[in-house]
């Protein structure tokens, strides 16, 4: 059943979210260079179309699981960028009270079950979330975001099989950016079209251009509706590309500047959506500037909030290990 094309309002919302991700990530990199954002930082720049196109169909009561590259998923799902920035700054006002950082950022109130520092760590969580939804008959859906690298780990196989055989309301979304950290997918996998593996699980496999947020939106919409109707999971592969390194500071010797430029300059998902919206008369140049300006101001406010926030107190160390304090 084809998904209805997004309304102008929906398009504007998606466009804004994509800019919010882009500018948040660029700011996070800048703050990292200033020693304010601490630890490892894996940015979603270039992949905005995937997270936004998928999450556009999800309610706060639907679940997503994420990866070490989780800021984009978090923002796409509707998280508060002030609390996100504070978490990256290691402050007590962050989503995780400063105890998680970038790789473990989470907002359970909007169904974001956490970024995950273990590649393929999100498969079980998403499949289990879908199991809970099925047992309750709630109509909720879970989406598992994962990368091409994760498709080589055991939990990919085990959980997709379980999701398929139990017809769980889950969608497995592969963000195939063609690199697992510093290793090209084609060097370590014969079958690089992850969606083509779906027959092994008896579920539909769909592949789309992940740089085309509208293509992602359409395919994700179908997959999520299938799941909500009780027809089980889909393996949705979005071919995409990260414009920056695996992490901030990655010297990127494993790929050429020409290759990066070909994607970053010729195939930017935000530019593509902006161009489409302008041609469709939904976005004027003025509105475009205003959106970017608003987002930029919100990001600055997030930085101010983070900078003015205290670090966690020492007695926070032994809290939240259990629901009680262990002696």
């Amino acid at each position: 059943m084809p998904v209805a094309a997004p309304s102008a309002e929906k398009l504007m919302d998606m466009y804004t979210r994509m800019w919010r991700i882009r500018l948040f990530e660029e700011q996070a990199e800048y703050q990292s260079s200033q020693g304010k954002v601490l630890g490892a930082l894996h940015t979603y720049i270039g992949e905005e179309g995937v997270g936004v196109g998928v999450c556009a169909h999800l309610n706060d009561t639907d679940y997503i699981t994420s990866t070490h590259r989780g800021h984009g998923h978090c923002i796409a799902k509707g998280a508060d960028i002030k609390r996100m920035m504070a978490e990256l700054f290691g402050r007590a006002t962050g989503y995780c009270k400063g105890k998680g950082g970038s790789m473990h950022i989470a907002d359970f109130a909007v169904g974001m079950l956490g970024a995950n520092g273990i590649v393929a760590g999100g498969f079980g969580l998403a499949t289990g979330a879908a199991l809970a939804a099925q047992m309750r008959g709630s109509g909720q859906v879970a989406v598992c975001f994962f990368g091409d690298g994760a498709a080589n780990r055991g939990p990919f196989h085990e959980n997709i099989n379980v999701g398929a055989v139990w017809k769980l309301p889950v969608v497995y979304v592969c963000e195939n950016n063609q690199y697992a950290q510093w290793t090209p997918q084609k060097d370590v996998t014969l079958v690089t079209d992850i969606s083509s593996m779906s027959p092994a699980y008896g579920i539909p496999g769909v592949q789309v251009d992940g740089m085309d947020v509208l293509a992602v939106y359409e395919a994700a919409g179908e997959a999520i509706e299938r799941a909500r109707r009780g027809e089980g999971p889909t393996l949705l592969e979005c071919k995409t590309y990260r414009f920056h390194g695996h992490n901030f500071g990655d010297p990127q010797l494993y790929r050429t500047r020409e290759e990066i430029a070909a994607w970053a300059e010729e195939n930017d998902p935000i530019k593509r959506l902006g161009t489409y919206m302008k041609r469709a008369g939904i976005l004027s140049d003025e509105r475009d500037k205003a959106v970017q300006q608003q987002v930029a101001e919100a990001i600055q406010e997030a930085v101010r909030f983070a900078e003015e926030s205290p670090y966690p107190a020492p007695d926070e160390l032994y809290k939240d290990i259990y629901s009680y304090t262990i002696v």
Partner: protein, 323 residues
């Protein structure tokens, strides 16, 4: 008071809790057929259809989906058929289940119960006979329960199913048929509450699992000689009831720690260290440990019988401490 086996006691706990709380469900390999590999899950499919799932051989998915469901309002009881197989799901246990509450700053409860049949039984050798409590004790975020009697098993399981934190529930396979008195009606045993299984003044034996029974045997052998052994059963290794253990050591001044894990870095090592650090002044002799030989479990019965500690070894250890 009715008597029942440990497996019956655990089964009763599951049934009673599932009647009380509709978010509880069971999953694992073969848990429906024949009532499960250990008959612990018998009757659940009939009484609570839809609340028990028989899984593929996918330990990582069993533990992972249990965790995912627990983060989303359910209370899963997952069975991993032999604790030895938990290695197939160690990421899910150690990096996910144990850490999600802390990493996410307390945004979620994690009510998962992981049932792990453990210990030697029926000559099934190295990969089906291990005791791995120490592994789970070592990971902050996990609770570890080790019942030694049907009474303890039922009470601890009920507490596990009412808690908000992950429970590694160690079930010693050889104790499934061990019988004991279990009162009618609802009762729970709190975590972090050790049990004085026998009162004595001369030496303390801190024992878990099948070694509790052997400690009591050793006590009966020694009693006619005027040696009164106090047997303390921690029941949960995390959280650990140090107060009861220390009170006993302060009374008897001599202590033996015993469990069925291999001796090297077993739970007994942690307990011995804690006692040595915090009860040193009360000790009249070094802390002793009696545990399994540091070997993979061999197959042949002539070798297997050399591995698991016996009551006689506890008797010898007591004599050694008092001699």
């Amino acid at each position: 008071m009715p008597k029942m086996s440990m497996r019956d006691a655990i089964r009763e706990a599951l049934h009673e809790e599932m009647a009380r709380d509709e978010t509880i469900f069971v999953l694992g390999e073969d848990v429906i057929a024949h009532g499960g590999p250990y008959a612990v899950t018998r009757g659940i499919a009939e009484k609570y259809p839809g609340r028990i799932r028989q899984t593929p051989i996918s330990e990582a998915a069993i533990v992972g989906t249990a965790l995912g469901a627990a983060l989303c309002g359910m209370r899963p009881v997952a069975e991993i058929m032999y604790v030895d197989f938990i290695t197939c799901a160690m990421d899910e246990v150690v990096n996910q289940m144990a850490k999600v509450r802390y990493m996410f700053g307390g945004q979620t409860d994690v009510p998962v119960v992981l049932r792990l049949p453990s210990g030697s039984a029926r000559l099934i050798a190295a990969q089906h006979s291990q005791c791995l409590e120490a592994w789970f004790m070592h990971v902050p975020g996990l609770q570890v329960a080790v019942p030694s009697t049907p009474y303890d098993a039922k009470g601890l399981m009920k507490s596990a199913l009412r808690g908000k934190d992950p429970v590694i529930f160690i079930e010693y396979k050889r104790l499934y048929t061990a019988e004991g008195e279990v009162p009618e009606g609802d009762y729970t045993i709190p975590f972090g509450q050790a049990d004085v299984k026998r009162v004595g003044n001369d030496v303390t034996i801190v024992a878990t699992g099948p070694m509790v029974g052997k400690a009591l045997e050793a006590a009966e052998i020694l009693a006619p000689e005027g040696i009164e052994v106090e047997v303390i059963d921690p029941r949960t290794l995390v959280p650990l009831d140090k107060r009861t253990i220390f009170a006993s050591v302060e009374k008897t001044n001599r202590v033996i720690i015993t469990d069925e894990e291999v001796k090297r870095s077993g739970a007994s090592a942690e307990l011995a260290s804690v006692i040595a650090e915090e009860c040193f002044d009360a000790l009249d002799a070094p802390v002793k440990r009696v545990a399994a030989a540091d070997v993979p479990m061999p197959f042949s019965p002539e070798l297997e019988k050399l591995v698991v500690p016996k009551a006689e070894q506890l008797v010898a250890a007591v004599r050694d401490l008092l001699g």
